[in-house]
């Protein structure tokens, strides 16, 4: 019998040591007795009259020798060989997509896939190397090229499910990279083959699919869309779309929860492979987080079966805050601008001519403006509110005007600029613009020629401020769809309302979050309570990118107050308010307006919430697919004994069978040996302690007898 560690047989040298110890025997304990009269010849009598005694001692000795020999044998790792069923270099891909959480096989598909992958390792040839790739939204190498099967098992066991759409193509590409380095490679894919994105990557190695999941396991219904619509009359509606991906119709109940209160339930019956939409109106205005759950059938119907995938039975939505913002437009009047501004949600637009300002800007209700837009004019004294200045004619605190630009071109735009999100300026032409110098407090949003910004934004004296260097009517921008989006983004930042994503985020997608003015960064708390602090990469950066969106649910980002920065902001706010001259009539208090405007325009302490939802019909379709989809991507397997055959799709097969020089698989025999050792130990223990057990038994029975007699 071959041994993996034959040197360990040196442990047999302990056998003479045991013999020596047995011969030397142990020192006897001296005990004083009244007389040795009755003990004389007793030992000899016992030996002579009870051969079992001799045998028992010999048996103990033999057992000890046997145990030493077996332990040495065990340490030498004996094994038996058999033909290997796998290639020498094995790449194990474990699908961790959301559909692998289906429970049609216990404990779930991922658990079964991991077990199948571990079981398959038994066929690995001796010295074979294994790489493990976790195939989630992206591929991740868990372990690479190791022959330590314990480590491989541990790596496979460590794989956790994800809630995102899986992409086996990425993992196959990695597997291809690993396979091309080896002459004898094979790819094992442990998956349910319910592929949301069918991979197309070819692999220059045979692919074997360890398919898990019940072939009839398609019983799944999923929430595939959730939207909250706020109407101008401040009523809200919830739109839920539920897809039945089963081959049978299903009755499910939709529960809408608002801030952990059950708001509405609807029971729906959905045809197979169809969708049902549910619209629930009159959602309470105070509900900030909506949690929609899909539960099994009607509450009274106890026979309804839950579906096999739970993670797509729940979705969340953040209800956008509803508050009317008051925007004052000061200028001669631009119909394009006014029209675009009038379509901003939850906002009320007021207009004044430059002559009417600032006297006419005093609000009767004591509140302040959330935003003042100066179009083609700049007041002598800047109000302490967020400001958007459009084509300022003269230099002011908003920026220095150094001239005019004619037909200025738009330079390369930044890709992560939140104001330019969804804004396409590639066809925009500008006839005339003010030539501005970028102030220290601002960043360039739309760069112009020679460093002259066409749009810049920033926090001036603690107040969000932006300057557009050209009048919209001096360009074709108002005629483009980008104009209202740009205005919405711009006013959103100035009003402090665009910090959070407005739509649900896909699991795994990065989220760009805007850091509110006066905050040093964001403290983001995931649904499971794990938190991370995000700080802008560059000094003065206004956005951070959060990438750990690997859980479904609501994420809450709280601004981190920077002690120095907030103090400075407060100080600057006060300093800017101080020189503002009070209104002559005293009816309006710019100082009060300043503080109110600051408070209402940007709430630096308000948390930013966003939801991560699956909303993936393809991933929710959990019916296992055919193996061929994946196996055809690999090289054809050569039948044993065949010299070669054309590959199915992976190109011509190698003329030489790589399995020919492949070592055998080894089955180590440690389990039966360990069992043997345990049995031996038990026998030795029982022999050694037989007297003690019997004594105890006699003592107990004697006591019971005496108690019974009494």
């Amino acid at each position: 019998m071959p041994f993996a560690s034959p040197l360990a047989l040196l442990g047999l040298l302990f056998v003479p040591a045991v013999v020596a110890m047995y011969l030397l025997r142990l020192r006897r304990t001296e005990t004083i007795v009244p007389s040795t009269l009755l003990w004389q010849r007793l030992a000899a009598d016992v030996e002579a009259n009870a051969p079992w005694q001799k045998l028992r001692r010999s048996l103990l000795f033999l057992l000890q020798l046997l145990l030493v020999a077996i332990l040495a044998f065990l340490a030498a790792r004996p094994f038996v060989e058999r033909p290997a069923g796998l290639a020498r270099d094995l790449v194990v891909i474990v699908d961790t997509s959301a559909s692998m959480a289906a429970t049609d096989v216990p404990p779930d598909r991922l658990g079964a896939a991991k077990q199948a992958a571990i079981d398959a390792l038994k066929d690995l040839p001796s010295g074979g190397k294994v790489s493990v790739i976790e195939a989630g939204r992206t591929a991740r190498i868990v372990t690479t090229g190791t022959s330590d099967l314990g480590r491989v098992r541990q790596a496979i066991e460590s794989i956790r499910p994800t809630v995102s759409r899986g992409d086996l193509g990425d993992a196959l590409a990695l597997a291809q990279q690993l396979a091309i380095q080896s002459g004898d490679a094979e790819v094992l894919v442990a998956t349910d083959a319910a592929l949301a994105v069918p991979p197309t990557t070819k692999v220059d190695a045979p692919i074997r699919v360890l398919r898990v999941g019940d072939a009839r396991g398609s019983r799944n219904q999923a929430i595939v869309a959730l939207a909250v619509r706020t109407s101008p009359t401040l009523t809200r509606s919830v739109f839920v779309s539920v897809a039945n991906l089963d081959l049978e119709s299903a009755t499910r109940r939709v529960e809408v929860w608002g801030d952990d209160r059950l708001l509405e339930t609807r029971t729906i019956t959905i045809d197979p492979q169809a969708r049902a939409d549910v619209i629930i109106d009159d959602v309470p205005a105070d509900a900030s987080i909506l949690d929609v759950r899909l539960v099994a059938g009607d509450a009274a119907d106890t026979t309804a079966r839950p579906d096999l995938l739970a993670i797509d039975d729940r979705a969340w939505a953040v209800v956008p805050p509803v508050r009317d913002r008051n925007i004052l437009l000061v200028g001669p009047g631009d119909p394009y601008l006014e029209t675009a501004l009038s379509y901003l949600p939850n906002s009320r637009l007021f207009g004044l001519t430059p002559a009417e300002y600032p006297a006419g800007a005093v609000r009767k209700d004591g509140t302040s403006w959330d935003l003042i837009i100066f179009e083609g004019t700049v007041p002598a004294t800047l109000p302490s509110t967020p400001i958007l200045a459009i084509a300022p004619p003269t230099s002011s605190g908003l920026g220095e005007v150094t001239g005019t630009l004619t037909n200025p071109g738009i330079a390369t735009l930044g890709t992560d600029e939140p104001i330019l999100r969804y804004v396409d300026l590639s066809t925009t032409h500008i006839a005339k613009a003010q030539k501005m110098t970028l102030p220290a407090w601002a960043r360039t949003v739309i760069p112009g020629p020679k460093g002259a910004p066409l749009l810049y934004s920033g926090v001036r004296a603690g107040l969000p401020t932006a300057v557009l260097a050209f009048e919209p009517r001096q360009s074709d921008l108002p005629l483009e769809v980008a104009f209202p989006i740009l205005l919405a983004n711009l006013t959103g930042e100035l009003l402090g309302g665009s910090a959070a994503p407005t739509t649900a985020v896909k699991p795994g997608d990065p989220v760009v979050l805007t850091v509110p003015a006066g905050a040093a960064g964001l403290h983001v708390v995931a649904p499971d309570g794990n938190a991370v602090d995000l700080l802008p990469g560059a000094a003065g950066g206004l956005t951070v990118t959060y990438t750990r969106t690997d859980q479904l649910g609501i994420y809450v980002a709280t601004p981190i107050a920077a002690p120095a920065a907030s103090g400075a902001a407060g100080a600057s706010a006060r300093s800017s308010a101080a020189p503002s001259p009070p209104a002559a009539s005293g009816a309006a208090s710019p100082a009060a307006g300043a503080s109110g405007g600051l408070g209402q325009g940007v709430d630096a302490s308000a948390p930013i919430r966003f939801a991560v939802d699956l909303f993936d019909v393809d991933e929710s379709a959990i019916a296992p697919g055919p193996n061929r989809v994946l196996e055809d991507l690999g090289k054809a397997r050569i039948a044993p004994g065949a010299s070669g055959e054309p590959g199915a799709s992976g190109g011509p097969a190698a003329a030489i069978d790589p399995a020919a020089g492949r070592p055998n698989a080894r089955d180590e025999l440690w389990i039966p040996i360990v069992l043997l050792v345990l049995v031996g130990l038990c026998v030795e223990w029982s022999l050694y302690h037989r007297d003690a057990v019997l004594r105890m038994w006699r003592r107990v029975t004697g006591r019971l007898r005496r108690t019974g007699g009494a």
Binding site: P34, Q40, D691
Partner: protein
């Protein structure tokens, strides 16, 4: 009879009891904690307050049959040889016709014989094994033997028999002065208190032979010993061959009856210092028990053959049980 005739001076000083009333109730205590009436030469650790209470109780319970005393002694007397009338008994075939009461025959026309109290002077000799092996065991065998001797001796004294204590140690027997009358109980206790285990080995056979030679006349010999001697059977033979009736109280401690030994041991003889290696597993202990049982059985059979009485005792038997149950059951006491 003077005060020194059998009465202890301090017993007289205590003066609480008469000679026939036995030991006083052990209420008052001296400064050293022992009963005030207890003579100084009585070992209070052996004859402690509990023992004295038991002795007191023994006297009360034995008062009615006290005349019976040790039955062994009574069986050997010739009935009707004294002058003091005791009772009538119906005539049985073989009775001496000279003992017939002719007056009763004439009056009632029935045959009755007259019974008389015997007056033979019976000596009860207590042979106490004083070998070193007796000083071992839990409870201590020698202490148990002293208490048993005290109890039996007290019964003898209460029966107006002569009681003599002889200690077997070394190769000889040291016989103490014979005592008579229950008033000598403290002397008996003092004699027993003075007994200690012999240093060095004891030849029980030689000592018993020596004790047998000291016996005078008929009587009762009570041997209290652990009989841990290779020739212990010869002791019984020697003593049984005397004219006295032999009672053997074979005393062993629970440790010897059921040795709590375990493992690989070297057993050292407390008397001889010899050692023996034993692996005390259950089989060995079982074999020991078997050997012990056979050993005791051999003594019992030997005693039966020699018309002696053999009683095997464990030192954990309470004195009450020893006197009122064990010895009565074995027909040592009437």
């Amino acid at each position: 009879m003077t005060m020194t005739d059998g009465r202890e001076p301090d017993r007289a000083a205590a003066g609480a009891r008469t000679a026939t009333s036995g030991p006083p109730a052990p209420a008052a205590k001296g400064p050293d904690g022992k009963p005030a009436f207890l003579p100084s030469d009585v070992d209070p650790t052996v004859f402690d307050e509990t023992f004295l209470r038991q002795l007191e109780r023994l006297l009360l319970l034995m008062r009615a049959p006290v005349r019976g005393g040790l039955k062994g002694g009574r069986r050997s007397v010739k009935r009707g040889q004294s002058v003091e009338f005791a009772d009538y008994r119906e005539y049985a075939l073989g009775d001496d016709l000279r003992q017939l009461d002719w007056n009763v025959l004439a009056r009632l026309e029935k045959l009755f014989v007259k019974l008389f109290i015997e007056e033979e002077d019976v000596t009860i000799t207590i042979l106490l094994d004083g070998s070193k092996s007796m000083a071992s065991g839990r409870p201590d065998k020698l202490q148990f033997a002293k208490r048993a001797a005290a109890a039996l001796g007290y019964i003898g004294l209460a029966s107006e028999d002569k009681v003599a204590v002889s200690v077997l140690g070394g190769r000889s027997a040291r016989r103490r002065t014979a005592l008579r009358g229950s008033g000598r109980v403290f002397r008996l206790l003092a004699d027993l208190s003075a007994i200690s285990a012999a240093e060095g080995p004891t030849d029980l056979v030689a000592a018993a032979r020596h004790a047998a030679a000291q016996l005078t006349g008929r009587g009762v010999v009570i041997l209290i010993s652990d009989l841990l001697d290779p020739a212990a059977d010869r002791i019984i033979r020697e003593l049984a061959s005397t004219r006295s009736e032999l009672i053997v109280l074979h005393v062993l401690s629970p440790d010897e009856l059921d040795p709590p030994l375990e493992g690989d041991l070297r057993l050292v003889d407390v008397e001889t210092g010899e050692s023996i290696d034993v692996t005390a597993d259950l089989a060995t202990i079982d074999a020991y028990r078997g050997r012990l049982a056979a050993w005791k059985e051999s003594f019992a059979q030997l005693a039966a053959r020699r018309q002696a009485t053999y009683v095997d005792l464990s030192t954990d038997v309470p004195l009450n049980e020893l006197i009122f149950a064990e010895l009565r059951r074995r027909r040592v006491l009437g």
